[in-house]
């Protein structure tokens, strides 16, 4: 390359025959089939290629420098921060006082956290539950194998023949599920709520699937059920909160019919109880479908 004249180099560049960029492999846009085995081989190759690009010295050097500087800055910052849980911290302001002082009467929830996330700041929680939904969809689109492909059943480790695990799970699963439902329904009265109750519930179903075999679990909890539950709870959340946002602004001229009720009762706290249940169901479905898709590559 060095011996050539500048003008001929320029011509070569202009016609696209001169390559500076190693990454320019023209085969990346070849039409590719969706055969699973071939795909795996290709994926390994592509990852190796990408690794090669990343192990160049400059890349490594700058990434280490970036991380070290960032860590040093963050450690230095801690020095200047206000003391944690001190009375004089800026976070102990009127917002905090309002949440703790009036939360019980305004929202009807004895559990202040539930009142905060599902009433005062319900819009954030709406976003959070959609983060879960987005994650479920992302995992499904990435890992779910189509029915047409004949997937080789990979030998995987199951507990379904293990006498100790099976027996214990038989005893423990109903208790876990009942506990999950309890946490879900008492979210506004005691510590807990949608996210924690939902994950307990999801863990219960995952244990069940592990012990009795995923095939059997998939017959009981079909993909259709998961889909219907997810769709219903998220739509309910959207609609319920739309009503509350709409009535929350006086210029619309409608007043909300939802009242906080008597704090401490099981049916109290306005929308908090149904929203807790909706969030819990979404969390439960997300966890369970993550497990099934990672383990089997499909939900059914």
């Amino acid at each position: 390359m060095k011996n050539k004249k500048f003008s001929s180099l320029l011509k070569e560049w202009y016609e696209g025959n001169l390559s500076f960029d190693e990454r320019m492999d023209s085969d990346i846009h070849k039409k590719e089939t969706a055969e699973t085995e071939e795909k795996e081989i290709r994926l390994v190759k592509d990852v190796e290629k990408a690794e090669k690009e990343l192990t160049s010295k400059g890349y490594k050097f700058f990434s280490v420098i970036f991380c070290v500087i960032l860590a040093l800055i963050l450690i230095l910052t801690v020095n200047f921060m206000p003391l944690f849980a001190d009375d004089s911290t800026p976070t102990a302001n009127e917002v905090y006082e309002h949440y703790v002082g009036e939360g019980r009467d305004q929202t009807g929830a004895v559990n202040t956290v539930a009142g905060m996330i599902l009433d005062y700041r319900a819009f954030d929680t709406l976003g959070e539950s959609f983060v879960l939904f987005t994650a479920t969809c992302a995992v499904l689109l990435l890992l779910e194998q189509s029915k047409k492909q004949k997937v080789k059943e990979k030998e995987s480790f199951t507990f379904s023949n293990d006498p100790i695990v099976c027996t214990i799970v038989k005893i423990i699963t109903p208790i876990i599920i009942v506990f999950g439902v309890y946490v879900l329904f008492n979210g506004h009265i005691s510590p807990g709520g949608g996210f924690s109750g939902g994950s307990v519930l999801g863990a219960g179903f995952i244990l069940f699937a592990m012990a009795y075999g995923e095939d059997n679990a998939a017959k009981i909890i079909t993909p259709k059920i998961i889909r219907v539950i997810t769709i219903c709870s998220l739509s309910f959340y959207c609609l319920a909160k739309s009503y509350s946002f709409f009535t929350g602004n006086e210029f619309n001229g409608i007043h909300s019919i939802i009242t906080p009720g008597t704090p401490g009762d099981i049916v109290s706290g306005g929308l908090i109880l149904p929203l807790n249940i909706a969030v819990g169901l979404v969390v439960c479905c997300t966890m369970y479908s993550f497990y099934m898709v990672f383990k089997r590559g499909r939900l059914d």
Binding site: D46, K49, F80, M81, I231, L234, F245
Partner: protein, 502 residues
């Protein structure tokens, strides 16, 4: 007409709801839900613009729930928020429709509904990023946007796209985590999450000199996190791989809309949270200015070096984003208006370039290197025409949209000492480099082929929607270039509202 004040919140909830509905669909019909959503929200955003133009203050705050700030959540809309959302909606709709024939081919049939879901979720998060008046709500929807945009990339059948999406994910997550750490620091020293209260608290802290160091670090982390997510130099290395391997609609949506959404949130944070004076006083803008200029040059040089047309356009994205940060970094109102117009010009042009390149490379069996693409213009005339329009706009030829921001940048550059020279020289060099690589491709695709190879001729009637959409995008581009004054004055008004109204 107060009813219109409900529309920003209706846009967000409607798009979330549509995403859930698409999950119930079994086939590719789901994309019609996306079309409906984008058209409906476009109308809603337009009516919010008109409402605010005719109302006295031009700005309103909408309470999300029954409690006033700082106890409850809020969203707010001035002039810039609905205008940019409208731009994002138009660009998303056009790139979705124009690339629909490629989506059918690039994405497995059973997974096409996920494309619609992810488009709806991206739209929901962009709407929330535009309208939010609460920094934590902003973070939540940044998360949604990250996962959704990454999924759009993963949907391609190519395995290389998976690797590229992973790389994008890593960069994007670095950005989000920096933003999150910044928000946590900011909350611990101010005790607030809503924009108006944060603004007050930051102003007090800055003037009393209390917690200055953590405050600077927090602001720096938030700004740099969002900058990384939008692909500022030197964090632009994910661009060529992701834009080069994804299906053209996804590349268009990512480069034209998603990265601009983060920039818009950054702008909103700079003016509504940090405050214009504190931002200029904290000297963060010098960094943005420097990195912006470096990005302009480095992106263009990389674009010259590559032989793949999609990679070239991706690198040119890095350069164009450099322009935006240069404008933000200069810090004057005129420069920021220029940066806003640059967002418009780039969002209108990049998706069109990706679509038309896909049309060109379809004639040579999907190959993308210049040697093979030579003379492909004669086999797909519509794509070649729109590619030419896009390339000329990127270079900055008058009558195209890309000319206006360059003009506005140069005008705003004068009177800032050393920065004037830096900016003018950078603009000149970057324009020359742009000419070099864009005209090279233009001449290449029109010149006769040296070697005869198998080519497929694609006529207008083969893919009519594609043809109509790319021509429409070219027309929009020229319209924005010819009638720039109303847009500029809208942005000036909106920026005034951003700075002054609390």
């Amino acid at each position: 007409m107060d009813f219109i004040m409900n529309l920003p919140f209706a846009t967000i909830v409607l798009s979330l709801f549509c995403a859930v509905i698409c999950f119930a669909f079994k086939d590719k019909k789901a994309r019609f839900v996306s079309y409906f959503l984008l058209i409906a929200s476009g109308i809603m955003s337009a009516s919010v613009i008109f409402y605010n133009l005719s109302s006295e203050s031009g700005y309103f705050v909408y309470r999300m729930g029954h409690y006033d700030a700082p106890i409850g959540n809020e969203i707010s809309a001035g002039l810039l928020e609905p205008s940019f959302l409208l731009l994002f909606e138009v660009v998303m709709l056009l790139s979705l429709m124009g690339g629909s024939h490629r989506i059918m081919r690039d994405v497995e049939e059973e997974k096409q509904k996920y494309f619609a879901i992810m488009v709806n979720l991206t739209h929901a998060s962009l709407a929330a990023l535009c309208y939010t008046n609460d920094i934590f709500t902003g973070y939540v929807f940044i998360e949604v946007c990250t996962i959704a945009s990454c999924s759009l990339l993963m949907l391609s059948k190519r395995t290389r796209a998976l690797v590229a999406a992973t790389r994008y994910m890593i960069f994007s997550l670095i950005g989000s985590s920096l933003v999150l750490v910044g928000i946590i620091l900011l909350y611990s020293i101010t005790g607030h999450l809503l924009f108006p209260q944060l603004y007050e608290a930051i102003g007090t802290l800055w003037s009393t000199g209390e917690y200055t160091f953590p405050l600077t670090i927090a602001l720096g982390l938030i700004v740099s996190g969002l900058a990384i997510k939008s692909g500022m130099f030197p964090f632009h290395f994910w661009m060529p791989d992701t834009y080069g391997t994804a299906t053209p609609s996804a590349s268009g949506i990512l480069s034209g809309v998603v990265s601009k959404g983060y920039i818009f949130l950054l702008l909103k944070i700079i003016f509504r949270v940090i405050g214009y004076e504190v931002f200029l006083d904290s000297k963060i803008h010098y960094l943005l200015f420097l990195f912006g200029i470096c990005g302009m040059i480095v992106g263009s040089v990389s674009a010259i070096k590559t032989n793949n047309i999609n990679f070239m356009i991706a690198y040119s994205s890095a350069a164009q984003i450099g322009y935006i940060y240069m404008g933000l970094g200069l810090g004057t109102k005129a420069a920021i208006v220029a940066a806003l117009f640059q967002i418009v010009a780039h969002s209108l042009t990049k998706p069109m370039l990706f679509l038309s390149v896909s049309g060109l490379s379809d004639t040579v069996d999907g190959k993308q290197d210049f040697a093979t693409l030579r003379s492909s213009a004669h086999n797909n005339i519509v794509a070649a025409v729109s590619y030419s329009a896009g390339a000329l706009s990127m270079v900055g030829i008058p009558i195209f949209a890309g000319f206006i921001p360059k003009l506005l940048f140069s005008i705003s550059a004068f009177g800032h000492g050393i920065k004037t020279y830096l900016m003018l020289i950078a603009l000149a060099i970057s324009t020359i480099l742009n000419v070099l690589y864009f005209l090279r491709t233009l001449i290449n695709i029109y010149s006769p082929a040296k070697v005869e190879s198998a080519r497929k001729t694609i006529r207008f009637k083969n893919v009519p929607t594609f043809g109509v959409i790319v021509l429409l995008m070219s027309a929009l581009n020229i319209l924005a270039g010819l009638r720039s004054q109303p847009i500029v004055s809208l942005f000036e008004k909106g920026l005034e509202l951003f700075i002054n109204i609390r």
